[in-house]
Amino acid sequence: MPPATAFHGAPLVALRGVGKAFPNGVRALAGLDLDVRPGEFVALLGPSGCGKSTALRIVAGLSEPTEGAVEWAQAVTPVQSENRIGFVFQDPTLMPWASVFDNVALPLKLKGMGADKAAHRVEPALDRVGLRTFSRAYPRELSGGMRMRVSIARALVTEPQLLLMDEPFAALDEITRFKLNDDLLRMWQALRTTVIFVTHSVFESVYLSSRVVVMAARPGRVFAELAADAPYPRDQGFRTSPEYAAFCRRVSEALSRAMAAVGEP
């Protein structure tokens, strides 16, 4: 039974008994159940190899589950779902030959939107991540943190209902990561989008999310779900607060138990 959070109602997307076996016999996921309600910020936390990235790719439709199903809320038809998902990879995954503007405009261009119309959406998207003045720069010319901002702007340019993020800040330094954490929370609240955020950092998961889903490995499955009740907006004060520390401890303990439970579903 998932813990109660501030978010109620029918799930936006639900994984029902999702399993994934690869052709080489590895079972990445087995019996994964997960409800994500509109407006939630869900962190998927787990050791490497617990299938959290695989779960994210299945939600995105980039990978097909071998068992179970992904159920979308009625309001989201499969055709719409193409428009309704934004995906941020661990690497910025930008087109090196295209300017920042063209990279962010890509989802709109692939939908057949004209350049003028796209500009009206790309400019606010760049504003949101503070890169308006860099719209003509090339990815090469940006720092790692700025490239990740471009990647986030691109994911948000379609104003998706669901933003999927696969360890997006894992390769960044801590200062940049903290800044991007705050910016992400700000954008999440402003856009009222739903986020599933894969991470292997306890501290990051607790800081960002309204619910932490701890996964265990071999095969990947949900081990525990912990609701983070601390109110938003959260800021640097929250990072040093006793409740943050206490919640980190609870999540760490759950993670330790999940790692001890490897191979015994």
């Binding site: 980039l62 989802p107 090469r140």
Partner: protein, 269 residues
């Protein structure tokens, strides 16, 4: 510290330009001296001065031939570029086409062009045969490199395109071809020199006279007439043409990639 490094770099660059020139000057001086001291007749070995004089005195004839060869090379290069990229795209879009045709592309590549040229001259008009030779030699590196490039697309970018429901055409145009561009340009750089070689081989094999004859024909003809200085002069023009083609293509490569590709970036950026 920084100033010293850049001074060292400047000296390095100056040496890279100066040393080959010194070697060239020394070589030419020794050559000129040996020919004069030993009194070697020009039909055995012409002195550099003699070659240069021939170049100016025969310039009308040689420049016309140079133009013929350059045009053939350019046409062969364009056909090779279009054919190589076109075939690679076709192979990339359809496995069946790739399986059906790829072995023959390899056969064309591994069979020596010198052996194919006489056959082509039997079945094709001379100009078409020369072009075909230039094409056969030059298209394969373009095909091979473009194929490699089209298959080297970033997997996550490809996933992103499929997430946004991109069509096959969009994936090809907005993802695969730009990804492959550095590889295509690398292939073209090789193809430029090879199409010159193809044109020369075919001209020599063709060996027919007339106003429309290229530089390679001049070399063969001068050889029969023991006009060795003109042979050297034509050879000099050919190798200069090859150098110019290579650097032109390098320049295009640099201009196209300088803003985004590692290969075209300066060390400090």
């Amino acid at each position: 510290m920084k100033a010293r490094v850049s001074a060292g770099e400047r000296r390095d660059r100056a040496l890279r330009i100066a040393l080959p020139i010194v070697v060239l000057a020394l070589g030419l001086a020794v050559w000129e001296l040996v020919v004069r001291i030993e009194d070697i007749p020009p039909y055995v070995l012409p002195a550099p001065g003699n070659i240069l004089r021939t170049l100016t005195s025969d310039w009308d004839l040689l420049s016309r031939s140079l133009l013929v060869t350059l045009i053939t090379t350019f046409e062969g290069f364009l056909l090779a570029a279009a054919g190589g990229v076109g075939l690679a795209v076709l192979f990339n879009q359809s496995r069946l086409v790739e399986y059906s045709l790829y072995p023959y592309a390899v056969i064309l590549q591994v069979t020596p062009i010198v052996a194919i040229a006489p056959l082509l001259l039997i079945y094709l008009p001379q100009h078409a045969a020369v072009l075909a030779c230039a094409w056969i030699v030059a298209f394969f590196p373009v095909l091979a490199n473009t194929t490699l490039g089209l298959n080297s697309v970033d997997r996550n970018l490809a996933a992103l395109f499929s997430l946004y429901g991109a069509s096959r055409g969009q994936v090809l145009w907005h993802l695969k071809l730009p990804s492959a561009l550095p590889y295509i340009l690398g292939g073209l750089r090789i193809a430029g020199g090879l199409s010159l070689i193809g044109a020369v081989v075919a001209e020599i094999a063709a060996g027919s006279a007339g106003a429309g004859s290229g530089l390679a024909y001049r070399i063969a003809e001068s050889g029969y007439r023991l006009n060795i200085p003109r042979m050297f002069a034509a050879l000099l023009l050919l190798s200069l043409a090859g150098i110019v083609i290579f650097y032109l293509l390098s320049l295009i490569n640099y201009l196209a990639l300088r803003r985004w590709h590692e290969s075209a970036l300066e060390a400090e950026h």
